[in-house]
Assembly symmetry: C2
Homo-oligomer: 168 residues x 2
């Protein structure tokens, strides 16, 4: 239940892979796709996104490939999810017009209404949903990608007792 999306897994796999490389060293999508047996196209697309958001840098051409461009300690898991999956909305109620702010006046089919929760009128849990959304966002924001990727490395101390408490 409540699985993370495959794309997110692929992103983590790739990031962890590149994390181990020498600075400046590039890795091709093809390499990673074959090594980890994940679908080339999907992985490629995810990496494109991350590159467009500054987490990775892409080099085209013959000796092209990807490399990490940003300190992963400064990239939260929230950021990663948001890049790949879009803004966090735990339920349809929340539908923010959002940062993208495309007030799309052209929109031939006004699907504004389409995606909106049809329970809206009668719903008694918008506050709870908002609270949940806030808390989850906070949780994800407090978890860095670096921390995730590094997991299992520093846990000689019995599953790192403090990993749990504290911080949240």
């Amino acid at each position: 239940m409540n699985r993370i999306h495959r794309k997110v897994e692929y992103a983590l796999i790739a990031l962890k892979h590149m994390r181990g490389k020498n600075p400046g060293e590039r890795t091709t999508v093809k390499d990673m796709a074959t090594q980890y047996r994940c679908p080339h196209d999907v992985l490629a697309r995810v990496l494109q996104t991350l590159a467009s958001r500054g987490v990775l840098k892409s080099e085209q051409g013959v000796h092209g490939g990807y490399l990490i461009a940003k300190d992963l300690n400064r990239v939260s898991f929230y950021d990663l999810l948001e890049m790949i999956l879009g803004p966090m909305e735990v339920a349809r109620c929340l539908q923010e017009p959002t940062a993208s702010a495309d007030s799309d006046p052209k929109a031939p089919f006004a699907n504004d209404e389409a995606a909106v929760c049809e329970l809206r009128e009668t719903c008694n849990i918008v506050s709870p949903i908002q609270l949940l959304n806030r808390k989850m966002s906070e949780f994800y924001r407090n978890l860095s990608v670096a921390e995730l990727i590094e997991a299992g490395r520093s846990l000689k101390s019995r599953e790192s007792a403090k990993v749990n408490g504290a911080q949240l």
Copy 2:
């Protein structure tokens, strides 16, 4: 992205509704389904589940209906999710034979192997996934259903500063 399931919403709606009733007072599925415009069958099924897990009590017959049977302060959101959606598994890697322990005698096709992650062999992120799963579980466990449902009530004090800390 990462929406909670409709069934979970329905559960919250129903629980919040019943929360407002006098002790002993029953509410029928039909009432709630019509009042909140959610599909009768789906709601019914969810409530059946909650009843079977002791959160609700059901009375059959003419004056039947549901009522809350357990202090919602003692039911975590994790519990709720687990009841409705099954054990928390942030990714296929994690596939526990698990506590649910429904040795499902009907299961005609042993799909044990079927659902297993096909990246398993080459995967470099099982530790990260495990960490994430642990942290998310913890997060959900530290959030009570009562707290959620009550949201928006006690927040005259500026989004109830203490909602976060404490309790954990």
